[in-house]
């Protein structure tokens, strides 16, 4: 059960992503060559600090309203009179700072993750539900979503994750939907959304704002970050990957096309001709048999229904269970076609310190059913990373993992990846980024969805004695780098490159550097500080505090 099942709600509105962009250029990490102009907004051909050097890192929902609900029995409504949840809003936290959008690394910016995000369903001032969004990276980024635009504004991507630690306040609610959601999703919900039409023009009133539409539904017996289903692969360069499930309860195909078709700058489809969802009948020469019409004429298909469409199957259920789906245009051109054998890792972005390991869980399916007893091949692949220099993905010896793994009867496999010490191959950037491509041994990675790919940042090791007894000179280069790369912080709050400032604010800095990484107040917001350097900084701050008079007066007066 996940976001495509019922009961589910859909929502749409806007989001804000306000990343700082000075660190978008890997060479800006080099303290030796850093120039003050790198902190300025780009001007004409001069890239300076790119398009948002003073970004806060914040990511939040704006103007997001619940647009439709689908009940457990498969019926839907968009009418507020039917269900009070249709007058409610989706918001982020109202009692702590915004969640943060974070690149894994300056040389892997294509899996940006949301950290410390709180998701709330609110009715006026009442919080109906409040939950923690499990850290998740976007995937299926598609750079041709809005082909008439330029830069990142052309792109769309999806985020899928789970909501945990849910607080419910539905005792007095007469919403049928909320009762059903609570019944099945009390402890965990699935949330998925598509983002596009992001505005990166700093003179625009919508600067850093884009469009979002998504779905929330109960989550259980499923991976957290993708939905096992019927993956549809693009058959032309004009469309993008889609997913669908066969809902056996409803005897229906539920199809998600939110991130699959190109749009104009106004958000409407480039081509709103209706399409056809069909199944290839293997008993009849793979003849396409229509399941239903994809109604792109419906103006609410995206903003109200979040691109999710349900097609009752009736007597075609068995046919669809055993044959691949396709999407055809009006001239019977095949636009998307189901991939017959599919493998996908659940979590696909990891941070590792030397000596640490992570476990990747793979799920393989064919026509939505487990594909067992097959082999997955894994290999290092840094081709998606950059810009360079410095060189990425080496030394290869810093990462160890098996070259193959066998799927069990349930189509599942686990792989443990162990990190060593890369030994500072990038010089001015800590650690190294590694990519691992994977595919079924009967397939090639180049035939797979390129987003089905594992990204890992492995940090460098710091000698034990440096960690234990750091001097200012030991931490200065790290602090200088943060001061360079995050001008909003260094100019607006603390200049971390200044020993006097760091020492005077040791208490508050210890507080934020010591936070849990999933706390939105954690520093650095970029979450690119290694275990060892973090310990070194905390030890330095502790030594300052031990030397200082008790109750360092500066702390609570620096508000």
């Amino acid at each position: 059960m996940s976001y495509l099942n019922s009961p589910r709600l859909t929502f749409s509105g806007l989001f804000q992503a306000d990343p700082s962009t000075v660190n978008n250029d890997p060479t800006h990490f080099n303290n030796e060559t850093f120039k003050p102009s790198f902190q300025k907004m780009q001007e004409g051909k001069n890239a300076n600090g790119w398009w948002n050097p003073e970004g806060t890192g914040n990511w939040r929902f704006l103007n997001c309203e619940v647009k439709s609900v689908t009940y457990l029995d498969g019926t839907s409504t968009t009418n507020e009179a039917d269900d009070p949840v249709l007058s409610m809003s989706i918001m982020d936290s109202g009692t702590k700072v915004a969640g943060k959008i974070v690149d894994l690394d300056t040389q892997q910016q294509m899996v940006s993750a949301l950290w410390g995000l709180v998701v709330r369903l609110v009715s006026g001032e009442k919080e109906i539900l409040k939950a923690d969004y499990e850290v998740a990276s976007f995937t299926n980024i598609w750079m041709s979503r809005a082909p008439a635009l330029s830069g990142d504004t052309t792109a769309a991507a999806i985020y899928q994750s789970v909501l945990k630690n849910i607080h419910w306040d539905i005792d007095n609610s007469d919403s049928r939907f909320l009762k059903e959601l609570y019944l099945l999703g009390r402890y965990q919900l699935s949330i998925q959304f598509t983002v596009d039409l992001y505005d990166m023009d700093h003179t625009s009133p919508q600067f850093t704002i884009g469009r979002i539409t998504g779905s929330i539904a109960p989550q259980y017996s499923e991976p957290s970050f993708f939905t096992i289903g019927r993956p549809l692969f693009p058959q032309t360069s004009k469309v993008n990957y889609a997913n669908a499930i066969v809902d056996l309860e409803q005897k229906a195909v539920v199809l998600d096309l939110a991130n699959s078709f190109p749009v104009n700058p106004d958000g409407n489809l480039l081509n709103n001709s209706n399409l056809s969802l069909a199944v290839l009948d293997s008993s009849d020469n793979n003849k396409p048999i229509e399941i239903g019409v994809i109604d792109f004429q419906d103006p609410g298909w995206y903003s109200v229904k979040s691109g999710i469409m349900s097609f009752p199957l009736a007597d075609k259920l068995e046919l669809v269970e055993n044959n691949p789906l396709i999407i055809l245009d009006q001239n019977n051109n095949v636009l998307l076609k189901e991939s017959l054998e599919y493998v996908c890792a659940d979590k696909f972005v990891f941070y590792l310190n030397p000596g640490e390991s992570c476990e990747v869980e793979f799920y393989a399916t064919s026509l939505g059913k487990p594909l067992g007893n097959r082999t997955i091949e894994l290999q290092l692949n840094a081709s998606q990373f950059g810009p360079t220099p410095p060189q990425v993905g080496w030394p290869e010896s810093a990462l160890s993992f098996p070259e193959t793994v066998t799927l069990d009867d349930a189509g599942k496999a686990k792989v443990t990846i162990i990190a060593g010490d890369p030994g500072n191959p990038r010089g001015y950037i800590d650690g190294q980024v590694y990519g691992i491509a994977y595919n079924l041994s009967t397939d090639l990675f180049s035939n797979c969805n390129p987003s089905n790919f594992i990204s890992i940042l492995v940090f460098d090791k710091v000698p034990e004695d440096k960690i234990a007894n750091p001097t200012w000179d030991d931490i200065q280069p790290i602090m200088q780098q943060y001061a360079n790369l995050y001008p909003l912080m260094s100019k607006g709050i603390f200049n971390l490159a200044d020993k006097e400032v760091v020492d005077a604010n040791a208490e508050i800095l210890k507080f934020v550097f010591g936070k849990d990484k999933t706390d939105p107040n954690y520093m650095p917001a970029t979450r690119d500080l290694s275990r060892d350097k973090s310990a070194m900084i905390l030890n330095y701050l502790n030594s300052v505090l031990n030397q200082a008079a008790p109750n360092d007066s500066v702390t609570f007066k620096k508000l």
Binding site: Q206, G492, F556
Partner: protein, 507 residues
């Protein structure tokens, strides 16, 4: 000096109400102090900023103490309601209507001397007595004095029947030793602790009456009370003890350099910004963050003290958004920047504004092309190209009938530094020049740097220039004292244009 309305406290419930007012009062000083302080960021005025920051930190302490006090006697602090925030400009909570009006504005020495020092001014018994009698008002010191007296009174009454007014849940007492020394912010569980807590508030704010420095028991470091600390800014020097035993403002410099202070328009309101502006976006995010801070503090003082950690984060976040506002031009108000407005943003206000995306989608113009009706394309083109310096963008040319007949079109660009700044489309849809020359209607204005030079060139080229009573260059003065100067000229078809030199401030 601030005068509060006289209040009567006859019941424990009225005492709780008075302490809630104290919480609101302590909070109400923070937005104006912070606003002034935000405008000093990165302006080289660190000495002044440190003074204001130190006062803000102590106002936060006072707010925390007052919340502990209210919790101690079984009340519940309320910080998460729109009414919690006073209107700026306006009187402070509990203040008399005729009293001091407190604004949100950029830092100035006058703001400190006229407003901040008035807020913190200690009681001067002689003339205060005269005033209180006359207006039914009291000072902040007297207000806290009254709370102290009533705490003693009600506790003594309660003791007679073996009870106490300190019935609050001890778990709601907030301490935060990371930042507030425990001798200043401690659990209030009885009368002595309560009275001492009030002494700390009054002493830090007003001093003891005999010494401008805060009693060392009531402070973490040696420092003057708020009033005298603000005076340091006005005098330009820190307050020091003289060898003679007296005091003087002769310590380290606390000088003000106004050069880089952003010209924030006073008392901004979110609603004053056009919805489709960056100032509005930042204002809303600032206010949402501020509202989140109040929500968070409300939880912290109502049984979830660990929320103070989140509150700290929100305070820093507030600074960042203030910085963004102060770097954003105030829409339609040349010369000014936006600023923080400290308004409550209810949940429902955040989403219920329609979807500006649609607005953006339908109208997000990149440039403007102005169509000009002309009777003779070639003659007009000659005028715009040779006299005004336009160049033709031939991609758009429509030469109807091969002789620029009816419905012909020529598009002209005016370039500056390689960038196109004005586009005109000459369109033949009239057979002769407008006659008489129209005196109103749409008139595009070219903004120039030196109107006299432009006029001289135009006169030399014999371009048709309008005059009114023999006067060519006329001027307008805006409500805010900005002056712009302009003259009208005509193209060969009597289409009207303006040459304008923008905005000089004469006040």
């Amino acid at each position: 000096m601030i005068f509060l309305k006289q209040i009567s406290i006859n019941t424990i419930e009225e005492l709780r109400t008075a302490i809630q007012t104290a919480i609101e009062l302590e909070h109400s000083t923070i937005p104006p102090y912070l606003t002034a302080n935000f405008t000093l960021s990165n302006t080289g005025n660190d000495a002044i900023s440190n003074v204001i920051s130190s006062v803000v930190g102590e106002e936060m302490l006072h707010l925390s103490i007052a919340c502990n006090l209210l919790n101690a006697i079984g009340g519940s602090p309320i910080l998460n309601q729109p009414e919690f925030i006073p209107k700026y400009p306006g009187p402070l909570p509990g203040g008399v209507d005729t009293g001091l009006i407190v604004p949100l504005e950029k830092f100035s020495v006058e703001l400190v001397s006229d407003v901040f020092m008035s807020i913190e001014e200690p009681e001067k018994p002689i003339h205060i007595n005269a005033l209180t009698g006359a207006e039914g008002s009291m000072t902040i010191g007297q207000f806290y004095q009254k709370i102290s007296e009533k705490l003693i009174f009600f506790e003594k009454e309660a003791e007679k029947s073996g009870q106490t007014i300190f019935t609050g849940d001890p778990d709601k007492q907030l301490i935060y030793p990371k930042f507030f020394p425990e001798k200043l912010l401690y659990p209030i569980k009885g009368l002595d602790a309560a009275l001492n807590a009030i002494t700390i508030i009054v002493d830090q704010g007003e001093g003891t009456g005999t010494d401008p420095f805060v009693n060392p028991d009531d402070s973490a470091v040696e420092e003057p009370a708020h009033y005298y600390r603000f005076q340091e800014i006005v005098k330009g020097k820190s307050l020091v003890r003289d060898s003679s035993g007296g005091y003087s403002y002769s310590g380290s410099p606390v000088a003000f350099d106004p050069k880089s202070v952003p010209n924030m328009k006073a008392n901004p309101k979110m609603a004053d910004f056009p919805v489709n502006s960056l100032a509005y976006q930042y204002s809303k995010l600032f206010n949402f963050t501020y509202t989140s801070l109040l929500n968070c503090l409300h939880l912290a003082f109502n049984g979830q003290p660990e929320k103070m950690d989140d509150a700290m984060g929100l305070m820093f976040s507030l600074r960042l958004y203030a910085g963004k506002l102060l770097a954003t031009p105030y829409p339609n108000c040349p010369g000014y920047v936006a600023g923080p407005s400290f308004e409550f943003v209810a949940n429902e206000e955040v989403p219920k504004e329609g979807n500006p995306f649609m607005e953006k989608a339908f109208f997000k113009a990149n440039s403007l092309v102005t169509k000009i009706s002309v009777s003779d394309i070639e003659k007009s083109k000659d005028f715009y190209v040779n006299l005004l310096g336009f160049t033709e963008d031939e991609r758009y040319r429509i030469n109807a009938g091969g002789n620029f007949g009816n419905e012909s079109y020529v598009q002209l660009n005016l370039l500056k530094g390689g960038q196109n700044i004005v586009t005109l489309g000459l369109y033949k849809d009239i057979s002769q020049p407008f006659a008489p020359a129209p005196q109103n209607g749409t008139v595009p204005s070219f903004i120039v740097e030196d109107i006299e030079t432009t006029l001289k060139i135009f006169q030399k080229e014999k371009i048709k220039i309008d005059s009114q009573d023999g006067q060519i260059i006329v001027s307008n003065t805006s409500d805010q004292g900005y002056v712009d100067r302009f003259f009208f000229f005509r193209d060969p078809d009597n289409n009207s244009f303006v040459i304008r030199e923008n905005m000089t401030y004469t006040n």
